[in-house]
């Protein structure tokens, strides 16, 4: 009996806008209009400004730990823009702020979250996103479930979930992918391969040549795109989302990008990665690339850039003012969201007295209203 090959696979890599700002017109056909590109460039610039300011807020003690998005704006913009605002559902981790903003999350919510305030997760009505997710790789299962609900109710809606290269090592990732594929739900798995899971580079995170190939094991359409190329990210995302919407099941996208900043403000990447690598990727900065493109097309000027930067500063300043102007939550908030309806008796006592010691909770029981006098 001859040995037969029973499976063959290949992974395509899509790039439309290269590092010099040169566009492949054929591939770019029917993707983004000039107006949309300018709009997204502006949003990316504002997001970058927010990132820089957030970093400084942390350093000056005005905010807790913050994970910078720097360098990954095109991945968030292209995918977020491809999903239908108000219809589709985003299930993020924590490095795709712009996708959330494009779907209507007020910018100060993200700051509020990292300022240690749950109200940053109190997603406004009509904004179809889940809050920032801290544990790695767990939220993808929720996206599969959300998409499953869309399928059961026959709604033409899609869930798009975000995660990093490191998250694909977690068991939950594989369970989410398998469920999504077995159930053929309208879900898009968007991996931001930014090369680093804190200090662990992709090469020792996995022995797979690409992240995209992991989807092949689950029988899912998959593609690798230049994650710093707004056009490629948009096109791959749109295709996957529309395939899902029309009943074609889940897809996987590996967006190859780079975390230009530290993992978070609590991290110091100089301890473990070569500055030369960072510089190489800084040259591929999605913002720089997009500006080059816009300039080549005469859609941009020095003056416009200056005005945009000033506007970005003003917007972010206002966002910070809003976030910092929100008063500290009341201690009742610790208790009030534990369950729907009336709190159990013990929780009511804890809330009313801010005590767990029974004597402190019910002083009248033992006639101990006053603190005993000192001798």
């Amino acid at each position: 009996m001859p040995i037969k090959t029973v499976y063959n696979a290949q992974i395509e890599h899509l790039q439309i806008l290269d590092e010099t700002g040169k566009l492949d017109d054929k591939l770019a056909k029917d993707t983004l209009t000039d107006e949309q590109v300018s709009y997204l460039y502006e949003q990316m610039t504002v997001c970058r400004q927010l990132d820089e300011v957030a970093f400084r807020l942390q350093r000056s003690g005005r905010m807790g730990t913050y994970p910078q998005n720097k360098g990954q704006e095109a991945a968030a913009a292209g995918s977020g823009f491809a999903a239908k605002k108000g219809v589709d559902f985003l299930v993020p981790c924590y490095r795709e702020n712009l996708a959330l903003f494009l779907h209507g999350l007020p910018m100060h919510y993200v700051l509020l979250h990292w300022m240690g305030d749950e109200r940053g997760n109190q997603i406004p009505e009509g904004v179809n996103i889940t809050p920032i997710s801290i544990p790695i790789g767990t939220q993808m299962l929720h996206a599969t479930g959300i998409a499953w609900a869309f399928k059961l109710r026959k709604e033409p809606r899609v869930a798009v979930t975000y995660f990093g290269d490191g998250a694909t090592s977690e068991g939950d990732f594989h369970e989410a992918m398998n469920f999504a594929s077995v159930l053929q739900v309208p879900c898009v798995f968007f991996c931001q391969n930014n090369h680093w899971a804190i200090s662990v580079p992709r090469e020792i995170q996995m022995n797979s040549e690409t992240v995209a190939q992991k989807a092949i094991a689950y029988g899912m359409p998959t593609i690798q795109v230049d994650g710093n190329d707004l056009f490629a990210v948009y096109k791959a995302s749109r295709d996957a989302i529309e395939r899902a919407r029309s009943g074609g099941g889940p897809s996987f996208i590996e967006a190859v990008t780079y975390r230009l900043g530290d993992h978070t403000t609590a991290d110091d990447a100089r301890r473990y990665r070569d500055q030369k690598e960072v510089e190489m990727w800084a040259a591929r900065d999605p913002l720089v690339r997009l500006r080059k493109y816009l300039e080549k097309k005469d859609l941009w000027s020095e003056d416009r850039q200056k005005r945009l930067e000033e506007r970005a500063k003003a917007i972010v300043q206002e966002v910070v003012k809003t976030a910092e102007g929100i008063e500290k939550p009341a201690t009742d908030d610790i208790f009030d969201y534990t369950f729907a309806g009336e709190l159990p008796a013990e929780l009511q006592r804890q809330k009313a007295t801010m005590r767990t010691s029974s004597l402190g909770q019910r002083p009248e029981q033992v006639g101990l209203h006053a603190v005993p006098e000192r001798a």
Binding site: I134, S169, G171, E346, M354
Partner: protein, 332 residues
């Protein structure tokens, strides 16, 4: 690893002490391996394993893929095959994926194989709140693991105890969860012996002797208790006990003290309901009922989800709450 000048002059932090214990055990026993996320080149996100990969190489201090169940499950395999793994889970909030491996496998292997297979591993986990950290970086789940038979649970509060207890844990023939209170990581320094030493697992420590009230705590809240003692009127004499080991509980130590004082306050960060305080209070009423002068009091975290950091200090037991409980118990 030779001590730095700072350590020689000012003593060791909790981080330094744990690092020194790991170093010495790795020197002493080449079966000891460290595995976890960012523990190698980066030296851990809290720098607890700093310098160890450089000294012992990437085969003994291993940066694993990002998968807690993977870390725990393979550590169990390493232990079963004769190694002495010391897996790190980066924060207590990420123990979730490893729970199955810990509870359904590590804790049960000795019993279900009737002693044929054992899991001598030490799981290091930073624990607790109070450091302005993001969500799921501030919980205190020690009672969950104490409730699981077959696991030992340790939580030191000082550099001296950390070094001695970690050494014991690594040499222990059974799985030990070694919780490291983050709030204490760098909060003070202490002069401790440079040579290796052990502190038996299961032994509490009397931090300060007293005769009126017994106060029991562990981990970072030991320092809130000390702060409370400073604020207390001089005529109330409190015996402060640092449990150090969560499971097995040093019943004799707490009962001896409770019988002496007849009044007990238990302080912990974890939520009150089904927290370790409930078990301690039960032991005390079972064994010391006739000695008690007041109901045993618990000053704990509330029975809520740990809030984000804007409200974490309102959630965590502080000196004021502890003082009030002590005074009420004293006056009862």
């Amino acid at each position: 690893m030779p001590r730095s000048e700072m350590m020689i002059e000012k003593g060791l932090t909790l981080v330094d002490a744990i690092n020194e214990a790991l170093y010495q055990e790795m020197e002493r026993d080449d079966r000891v391996v460290i595995l976890g996320e960012d523990v190698g080149l980066n030296g851990g996100v809290f720098r607890v394993t700093d310098g160890l990969q450089k000294r012992f190489g990437p085969d003994r201090v291993v940066d694993t893929p990002l998968a807690e169940s993977g870390i725990m499950g393979t550590a169990i395999g390493l232990a079963m095959a004769g190694m002495r793994p010391v897996p790190e889970i980066q924060f207590e909030g990420f123990l979730g994926p490893a729970f199955d491996q810990l509870v359904n496998h590590a804790a049960r292997y000795r019993t279900r194989s009737r002693g044929a297979i054992t899991v001598p591993m030490t799981v290091r986990v930073p624990v607790g709140g109070g450091i302005h950290a993001p969500e799921l970086h501030s919980d205190s789940p020690e009672a969950i693991y104490a409730h699981q038979p077959g696991l030992k649970v340790v939580m030191p509060s000082t550099p001296y105890d950390a070094k001695g207890l970690l050494t014991s844990a690594i040499r222990d023939p059974d799985p030990v969860i070694f919780f490291e209170p983050k709030r204490v990581y760098r909060s003070f320094r202490e002069h401790i012996p440079e040579e290796e030493y052990t502190i038996p697992i299961g032994q509490a420590k009397v931090v300060s002797e007293g005769s009126d009230i017994t106060m029991i705590s562990w981990g970072a809240t030991v320092f809130q208790c000390l702060e409370a003692l400073d604020q207390l009127p001089e005529d109330v004499s409190v015996e402060l006990i640092d449990l150090r080991t969560i499971d097995p509980i040093d019943e004799d130590a707490i009962c001896q003290s409770a019988e002496k004082t007849g009044r007990v306050v238990i302080v912990h960060e974890a939520p009150k309901t089904c927290g370790l305080g409930a078990e301690l209070a039960t032991i005390i009423q079972e064994r010391c009922f006739l000695h008690l002068e007041a109901p045993v009091q618990r000053v704990c975290g509330f029975d809520t989800v740990m809030p984000y950091y804007k409200l974490e200090l309102e959630y965590l037991p502080d000196a004021a709450r502890i003082v009030e409980a002590l005074q009420q118990v004293a006056a009862y």
